[in-house]
């Protein structure tokens, strides 16, 4: 049949294209019609012109295309040079430094309270050391420091030197010193000994290593058995500060050796000399230090038994 002969494969390409074009035209017309209906509905419902704004505000929000500005017209680092007036101290501060300044100024925030505590502890120390000196002109300071000294003394006496608790806490906190309150402020690893008075120095030397480091000129705040310094060094420091009769504080307190009961200091000094002559350098490993300490403990025990 004629109709059957009309198959697509019989058509050549151009005719196919023509047919396709017509179909496309039909589709476009349909789309146009659909679009017209949409617009007409929008007009009649009143929302056709909604996305238009008046030309004035259009000009306000136009995209800015100038060098040095962003598309909103703002300058890049405008806030670097801006200055704000602090409501507390009425100074004009740079904008980028404003928040930290406000923190310090108002006295709120983590850092400022930490610094304040440190300052208080510092001034406590200063006042305590000054109260021992003869030439203290300010009476107010004298009164205040006396009160704090009393408080400090009371605080220290609260801790029984013979109680087991004390030795336990010292055992756990190996390198740090948190036992004695006056030194709580010390977050660094050393104390500069020039600022300390003799009383303070003595108390410090009874609880801390105290060996003066060569490069920082500060006293070591680690425990009395700190592995970085030898007992010989500690003894030297104590002799230097407190006179030739100074002894290592292990003499007076029972730290690790509970069985250690010292009565004769002279005998202990002789014992220390015997142990100090082993002369280990600070660069030795901690294990050698502990072995030395253990040896010392054993040595003292044996000598103790020898004595009795």
């Amino acid at each position: 049949m004629k109709m059957e002969e009309m198959s697509l494969s019989g058509l050549d390409n151009s005719k196919l294209e023509a047919i396709a074009q017509e179909i496309y035209a039909d589709l476009v017309e349909d789309s146009c019609l659909g679009f017209c209906f949409e617009v007409h509905r929008a007009v009649k419902c009143g929302y056709f012109f909604l996305d238009d704004t008046d030309p004035d505000s259009m000009k306000d929000f136009e995209i800015v295309d100038q060098p040095g500005l962003d598309i909103f017209g703002q300058v890049f680092n405008q806030w670097k040079s801006k200055e704000c007036v602090c409501p507390n101290c009425s100074r004009s501060i740079a904008a980028s430094r404003f928040a930290p300044h406000l923190e310090k100024c108002l006295g709120m925030g983590r850092n400022s309270s930490r610094i304040a505590n440190r300052r208080i502890a510092n001034s406590n120390n200063m006042n305590k050391s000054e109260s021992d000196q003869e030439d203290n002109d300010d009476i107010n300071d004298n009164d205040w420091s006396y009160g704090s000294e009393k408080k400090a003394k009371k605080r220290k006496s609260d801790k029984n030197p013979n109680s087991p608790r004390r030795s336990k806490s010292l055992k756990h906190k190996n390198g740090e010193l948190s036992n004695s309150d006056p030194f709580k402020y010390n977050n660094s690893t050393g104390i500069s000994y020039e600022t300390l008075g003799p009383e303070e120095l003595r108390s410090l030397l009874t609880t801390q290593c105290g060996v003066i480091s060569e490069h920082t000129k500060k006293m070591c705040t680690r425990s009395l058995r700190c592995p970085q310094h030898t007992d010989e060094q500690r003894r030297t420091v104590r002799i230097y500060f407190l006179g030739p009769s100074a002894v290592l504080p292990e003499v007076e307190s029972s730290l690790d050796n509970d069985s250690f009961d010292m009565t004769d200091s002279q005998a202990l000094i002789s014992r220390l000399q015997w142990d100090g002559s082993s002369d280990l350098s600070p660069s030795d490993s901690g294990s050698s230090k502990t072995s030395e300490n253990q040896g010392w403990g054993l040595g003292t025990n044996s000598s103790e038994s020898r004595k009795t």
Partner: protein, 100 residues
């Protein structure tokens, strides 16, 4: 020619039956929006409406004004790409069945 008209009608019918025509229409609409044809036409509409006055616009007016322009620009916008995909769509149904 009659044969071509018949051919066209047959093809159209086939397209509608398989739902291919709808698919093509959606595809075309998406493509027209993409290339900005609709926005162009909308701007033209706005002008027409401003001329005629907002209250008195009718569908016929709009259609009469906009369709010719739309057709022209539509043709200009999408030449070959759509055609080729459509020719594929047309060729998909088997030829012998077109006239069955």
């Amino acid at each position: 020619m009659n044969k071509d008209a018949q051919m066209r009608a047959a093809i159209n019918q086939k397209l509608i039956e398989t739902g291919e025509r709808e698919r093509l229409k959606e595809l075309l609409r998406a493509k027209l929006i993409e290339c900005g044809w609709k926005d162009q036409l909308k701007a033209h509409c706005k002008e027409v409406i401003k001329e005629k006055g907002l209250e008195h616009v009718t569908v016929d007016d709009l259609v009469a004004e906009i369709t010719p322009k739309g057709r022209e620009t539509g043709f200009a916008m999408l030449p070959r790409l759509v055609l080729s995909s459509r020719t594929q769509a047309i060729l998909l149904p088997q030829p012998s069945r077109l006239l069955g």
